[in-house]
Amino acid sequence: MEPDQKLGPGQSTDSASERTIRRLAPAVSGVLRVGVVISSSVIAAGVALTFVSSASYTSARRAVPQLRRGVLHPAGLHAPRTVAAVVNGVGHGDGPALVMLGLLLLIATPVLRVAVSTIGFALDHDTRFVLITLVVLAVLVGSFAIAT
């Protein structure tokens, strides 16, 4: 590959936007990486905890047909639907609640990525992109607030 590859996007056009992206890319990539690592670790721990702590789930073959039919509480396990219920369940060492916490962290990862971009654009005084990312952030937070 040619040496100018390191310049990254926008090299032949707007140098200001190119500088912003070159500074922003490691931060955005890093936020996504941290979000993915933390959420997948919590999810994996929750799955392990479910299998270890709930002998009825591990052994009960009827749990699978129940899951297929859409019964959400196989073998007496509960899937919390609110953030408060998730936190409460995690406090009691509940495996499925720990999985839900991990899934919520996974859902939060793209939202956090947008927030980090807003800060990055603000540091570079790129007002239009600060507004653009704020609109996206408002829609995301608003939709989650309305739903839950």
């Binding site: 590959m1 040619e2 590859q5 310049l7 990254g8 996007p9 926008g10 090299q11 032949s12 056009t13 707007d14 200001a16 936007s17 190119e18 992206i21 890319a25 955005v28 990539s29 996504l32 979000g35 993915v36 997948s40 999810i43 994996a44 799955v47 479910t50 299998f51 789930y57 591990t58 009960a60 899951l67 297929r68 859409g70 959400l72 196989p74 899937a79 639907r81 609110t82 499925p96 999985v99 899934l103 919520l104 996974l106 859902i107 939060a108 990862t109 793209p110 939202v111 990525r113 947008v114 971009s117 992109f129 653009i132 990312t133 829609v139 995301l140 608003g142 939709s143 607030a145 739903a147």
Partner: protein, 278 residues
């Protein structure tokens, strides 16, 4: 099948979906939903709940590499996210008014056409001169990306940003209405309307779909459609698959990528058509 076996099967389904999804700019729902409903006989609501989580996992897992390696165009992605996220919310509200059956047929026809158009566009090396686009100029959307398959940095210009924005709003609405990841519409919008290279289109689509899915994830979570014991192994499999798929993009032949995308989207279109007609 024991719960442990089910967990392993779901992990494998997720891995395949994440791997293909990362390469093609799709969320992997096109693998996850049919596998869970048709093969494993699960309730469609649980399958869609798992699919939403899978889309976010594919997006975040693949975008780690695509952003770092400058293949995804973040400025284009974030600008278009305004349209996809508001579209997703619109779709969620319209869902109770419109008849899904009709939507499936319309969506199937639109997808089939764009699959054919993407497949026909063979002249990726000699892209015709792009019409001027003052909006793209002023927002600094043009860019370049390193293409390992061609051994050089490819510079590209963006066109028809306003049409792209409108198409993204439609893509977001469809996503919110039908609970599908809308990468199948996002990639053609960037490839055909805005004239981006196919790899930039799939990588940027991957970057964006996490935000689109997150905009409707709250609804599915609250409804209880996100079952932890089904979604967890799917999500973990998707993450592993997406990390693997994302490594391949830079080195793949763009023509092969284009053909693979067209085949997958055509299959999705047929699936939608069957759902709408039967």
């Amino acid at each position: 099948m024991s719960p442990l076996e089910l967990t392993l099967v779901l992990f494998a389904v997720g891995a395949v979906g994440g791997w293909l999804g990362a390469l093609l700019g799709l969320g992997g729902g096109f693998i996850v939903v049919p596998a869970l409903t048709l093969v494993l006989g699960m309730n469609i609501r649980l399958a869609i709940g798992a699919s939403i989580v899978a889309v976010i996992a594919t997006s975040s897992g693949a975008a780690v590499a695509y952003v770092r390696d400058h293949i995804a165009n973040m400025r284009i992605g974030m600008f278009l996210e305004m349209a996809t996220s508001t579209g997703a919310v619109t779709g969620a509200f319209l869902g109770s008014i419109l008849v899904p059956r009709v939507l499936y047929v319309i969506f199937a026809v639109a997808l089939g056409q764009s699959a054919i158009a993407v497949a026909r566009r063979k002249s990726f090396e000699h892209r015709p001169a792009q019409p001027p686009d003052p909006l793209a100029d002023s927002l600094g959307l043009h860019g370049s990306y390193p293409d390992a398959a061609r051994g050089r940095v490819v510079t590209y210009r963006v066109a028809r940003t306003k049409i792209g924005l409108l198409l993204m709003y439609v893509a977001g609405t469809v996503s919110g209405l039908l609970g599908v990841g809308s990468g199948t519409l996002k990639v053609p919008a960037m490839d055909l309307a805005m004239g981006l290279p196919i790899k930039v289109s799939t990588a940027t689509s991957n970057f964006m779909i996490g935000v689109t899915a997150a905009a409707s994830a709250g609804v599915y979570f609250e409804r209880g459609d996100v079952n932890p014991l089904i979604s967890a192994p799917v999500a973990l499999g998707v993450l592993v698959g997406a990390l693997g798929g994302a490594r391949l993009l830079s080195g793949i032949d763009p023509r092969r990528l284009r053909a693979l995308f067209a085949i997958v989207v055509f299959a999705v279109a047929l699936d939608m058509l069957v759902k709408g007609v039967t």
